[in-house]
């Protein structure tokens, strides 16, 4: 399937997931196990995406300018910077690290 196909499928799944919440009985909200799985999934996926985007280059693990972005973003978040500032700080840190000779 082409990239367009996967994009449209992802959109359809998103709409179906949201709509399903309006159709299922609210009793499911009393099920702590289901809420735990949904919460853990969100955290685990975001952590995995952070790790891959920092250290993976195809199937290789590398340490390059992106580590500077990770560190700088962490400092910005710790200082309670807004999301857009955090993203800009990450880009700036990676750009500077490259300018200074990092891969």
């Amino acid at each position: 399937m082409s990239l367009w196909g996967w994009i449209l499928l992802a959109c359809a799944v998103s709409i179906a997931t949201k709509f399903a919440g309006y159709l299922v009985p609210a009793k499911l909200l009393d099920n702590p196990r289901m809420l735990r799985v949904a919460g853990s999934l969100t955290i685990g996926l975001l952590a995995a995406l952070t790790a891959v985007n920092t250290f993976a280059s195809g199937q290789a693990l590398v340490v390059d300018a992106r580590v500077a972005a990770l560190a700088a973003a962490a400092v910005a978040l710790w200082l309670r910077a807004p999301f857009l500032v955090v993203v800009a700080v990450g880009a700036l840190a990676a750009g500077l690290a490259r300018l200074l000779g990092a891969a």
Binding site: V13, S14, L41, L45, Q59, A73, G90
Partner: protein
């Protein structure tokens, strides 16, 4: 009642502006990942869930397949289904409003609605934040994608660093206590171990399986991770349907 007199609508507008602006970064990262302008706009208009959209283009940028990208986006979107249940209980939308309400069910609209106690304010907050974020998110996605196209080589501008920062920024507000932090560390470690062993994109799905298993085993926190990634109000949400539904 004038909209400006409604505290929920005022909060909704500030949330919409802040969130809409970071559509800039999504648009730029999406074209840097290799999606074209129309594909980028399709995600913002139809998928319309920031975390899932970043996940989709993040997997593609890393060389992952379309099915891995779609799966990561779908799994990250499961929390929207939980939000949908909460909003359905809270607002009891009329039948014909359920589909538009569902499409606008995202972190920001849910956080704005559940932070109010008066049912009318909850309703106004939900719709104002949902529609406001939708309009501005799509507008700024377009601007970001056009700017990204004009920038050329993404690495030169540190856009790969921007992606790292974006994912950490989405994760950060969800790890305020030890348990979610432990889940994050375990899943990041599992991902890195898997990177050299399986095709690109698959490590993220392996981490999802591990995260779900940790949640099933009862290690996950009941609400952390499901807290919307914005805090529109200075204090914690009041009048949340959680627990009394």
């Amino acid at each position: 009642m004038l909209p400006s007199r409604s505290p929920a609508v005022r909060v909704a507008l500030s949330v919409a502006i802040a969130t809409g602006l970071y559509g800039l970064s999504f648009g730029a990262l999406s074209v840097a990942a290799g999606l074209d302008l129309l594909q980028t706009m399709a995600l913002s208009l139809l998928l319309f869930s920031g975390g899932s959209q970043f996940a989709f283009v993040g997997v593609i940028a890393g060389g992952g397949s379309g099915i891995s990208a779609m799966s990561a986006a779908a799994l990250l979107g499961i929390r929207n289904g939980v939000y949908g249940m909460q909003i359905n209980v809270l607002l009891r939308p009329a039948r014909w409003r359920k589909l538009p309400a569902a499409h606008l069910t995202i972190d920001e609209s849910v956080a704005t609605a559940t932070g109010q106690t008066d049912p009318d304010e909850q309703r106004r907050g939900f719709w104002a934040a949902g529609i406001g974020v939708f309009v501005l998110w799509n507008l700024f996605t377009l601007v970001g994608a056009l700017a990204g196209n004009a920038m050329g080589d993404p690495a030169r501008w540190g856009l790969d660093g921007a992606a790292v920062a974006a994912f950490l920024g989405l994760l950060w507000p969800r790890i305020r206590t030890r348990e979610p932090a432990a889940i994050a560390v375990v899943c990041a470690a599992v991902t890195l171990v898997a990177v050299p062993l399986v095709p690109a994109g698959v490590p993220i799905l392996i981490a999802a399986v591990v995260a779900a298993a940790l949640g099933l085993a009862g290690l996950g926190p009941v609400t952390e991770g499901l807290e919307p990634d914005v805090e529109p109000y200075p204090t914690g949400p009041a009048g949340s349907p959680r627990g009394d539904a």
